[in-house]
Symmetry: C2
Subunit: 419 residues, 2 copies
């Protein structure tokens, strides 16, 4: 399968043609013949967004519990609803999430949820890249943790057995306040042994940090480091309440951060994560939407804009988190976090990208492509999406989308019936 995109605006500012063979970009600057030819005029070609923290199937709970205190949100609404989630529900909820992500330019995402082998099947069918983090808790009971981890390993191995490069397992202990240190460490050993990502929530709220100090005499980062659970395969979601020495620990261990500005603001986590300190220390900071119950959109354009706004507002400096930096976090840094050979439009890179239709009022005039993308665009400006060398959306049409939407709506209604 080959794709030729003719005369398209590239991130470099040049108008050029791009040729894809198999799942890689094979040429830039050559108008080759191909199986699929796309007229790129009045369009821009961008590397696909990489959403490094979400709970995909939480699309089923979108709008079900907003404007609530975090504790009431979790215990009165989210956990009881999640307890009723079936593998079938997860399958359709994940498909809905993939559809929404494709329609807004995301080509890879880092998931954390339950029934992940069914979620993996959904992702495989939808065509984008998924890192299927098998989530678990042990209620701070290491013995129960051992049982849980056995199931996690089995689920991860089932996903691995799908033998896809595009859909792979990850190990996803929920957080230090829901998983005991021995289980956290055993999970890390498993992830390391199998070469998988280790996806965990870290220091999202001040309460989490205060309670960790009280219970362990350590912050969450200090605790994870003490038990040897930090490393280059760790995706630490949120990481809002970090001190400077903890930022240095992240840098030293190669931990990757999934920054979720919308979720952090919506749930009032109390401060902005230390973006400048992290970037200065050389920590890879990528962007995540978080789940649809705490955002409630999976559109990375929104996450870019709110990310830029949050850091300008919190620092008092309008020059920080500029459009190019934020665009980079959503693409290249995301690819680096997930160890994908993607994030650039260049020969040899994975063919994961999207085309933006520039003939839209909100993208007019075109003084700066990066500014327009970060501050003015929405997911609807995405016209065509290619992932792993396959065209997933063309002219905003994704095959089978109405079935996915209807099935997910019906599953979601069933889920909350009587709630």
């Amino acid at each position: 399968m080959s794709i030729s995109i003719r005369d398209v605006l590239l991130p470099s500012g040049r108008v050029d043609s791009v040729y894809v063979e198999g799942n890689r970009i094979a040429a830039v600057g050559e108008k080759r013949e191909a199986d699929v030819t796309i007229d790129g005029r009045r369009k821009a070609l961008l590397p696909g967004f990489v959403n490094t923290h979400t709970h995909a199937a939480m699309t089923l709970l979108r709008g079900y519990a907003d404007d609530m205190e975090l504790h009431a949100w979790l215990t009165d609404r989210i956990l009881p609803a999640e307890a009723k989630l079936t593998p079938e529900a997860i399958y359709w909820g994940t498909k809905l999430a993939c559809l929404e992500m494709i329609k807004s330019g995301t080509t890879a995402f880092n998931d954390m949820y339950f029934h992940m082998d069914r979620a993996a099947l959904a992702v495989a069918e939808m065509g984008i890249r998924g890192f299927m983090g098998v989530a678990f808790f042990d209620g701070l009971d290491p013995a129960f943790g051992e049982e849980q981890l056995k199931k996690v390993r089995e689920a991860a191995e089932r996903i691995h057995a799908m033998r896809s490069e595009r859909v792979v397992p990850a190990i996803a202990p929920h957080a230090i306040y829901t998983v005991s240190p021995p289980t956290l460490r055993a999970a890390k050993d498993l992830a390391d042994a199998r070469g998988w990502l280790y996806h965990i929530h870290v220091s999202e709220t001040k309460r989490e940090v205060d309670e960790a100090r009280r219970d362990h005499g350590k912050t969450p980062v200090q605790l994870l480091d003490a038990i040897g659970a930090l490393g280059a395969n760790v995706i630490a979601a949120h990481s809002v309440w970090l001190e400077d020495d903890e930022v240095r620990t992240y840098a030293a261990r190669g931990v990757k951060v999934a920054h979720c500005p919308i979720s952090n603001m919506k749930l009032s986590v109390g401060r902005a994560m230390p973006l400048a300190a992290m970037r200065e220390a050389g920590v890879t900071v990528s962007l995540g939407t978080d789940g649809a119950a705490s955002n409630n959109s999976l559109d990375m354009f929104q996450t870019m804009k709110v990310g830029a706004l949050l850091h300008k507002f919190a620092s008092g400096r309008p020059t920080v988190a500029g459009a190019n930096e934020v665009l980079d976090m959503a693409t290249r840094e995301g690819a680096r976090a997930l160890r994908l050979d993607a994030g650039d439009i260049a020969v040899g890179k994975l063919a994961d990208f999207f085309l933006v239709d520039l003939r839209r009022p909100e993208l007019t005039p075109l003084h700066s492509l990066a500014s327009n993308l970060v501050y003015a665009a929405t997911g609807d400006s995405v016209d065509t999406v290619v992932c792993d060398g396959r065209v997933l959306m063309r002219d905003r049409h994704v095959p089978g989308e109405e079935e996915v939407r209807q099935k997910a709506a019906s599953v979601a209604a069933d889920l909350l019936q009587g709630a």
Copy 2:
């Protein structure tokens, strides 16, 4: 001209039919025959957004000067570019803004800019409601202010002479640091005498307040009140740095606030405006996008979401600025600010509304319409727009839109040539 919308989801949660005759909603709950019949199934009907603070033609400068310090942004980029704005440029820039607003569900807006008679013509042709604030400065020189105000009055009277209820003039002194007290007061007398709105920036930054104390021994609100320039026809944009007693002054005088959360965050104004105090005091708080040079989008869905996020984040309370409250600010409160008999889907109200297509992935499932609109939707979910009883957009098509886009793009490129 009559319009019949059949079987549509209303904000009340009921599915019902709506009938429009002339420029008013004439019936709710009756399927009458009409000149235009719209199938409302799987759609929701919402009152049109009212954008109470923008500089419409600044669309021409979108993306031209982002991520800069406010002072450098204004003096090095915006003012030199604005000095070159011709009436022709304003005309096309305003048309582009109207197009963008129509496509995202806005049916009325409160403008503040230059060459406003040409802008008024653009708005009249595009079909939405415009309050055409004739902006001016006097460089703190009352004598020059008198000259300026004469021109302002002439421009406003030219707009008034268009004899439209849909496009009306307003008086728009820029701010207390650019217009002298005598001119501010004379402008207020003019607005009062003619029954027009008085549209002004107030206490946007701490620097503005500090300098007012230094130069006048009063805050901007105290100064405006002392000279008798506060009243029920005043739209005070921003109003970020207000103390409690100033909030009470607003309430006592009936001042309306145009809150611009995205602009405030992007330009790092230093804190969130006191929303809770204002609502508690009974001040009408509506929402504005501000101009495309400081947002950079005119999509009110974005402004609603960021408004909700900002107040949750700044207050530390996820329960504040809930979806229903924010939706109300964007519609009913905006209509109240601009003294429009609109903002509700009810018999006798102006026929200013839009239809949202609910068959979209990000609006699925539909646990809460308000949550989905505020936290998940973008302007692209708007399918049909009616203003003043006329269909301005149907199936996302606005007649003549490509010409507007191309002309505006060309005017914007000319404007910055050699810049």
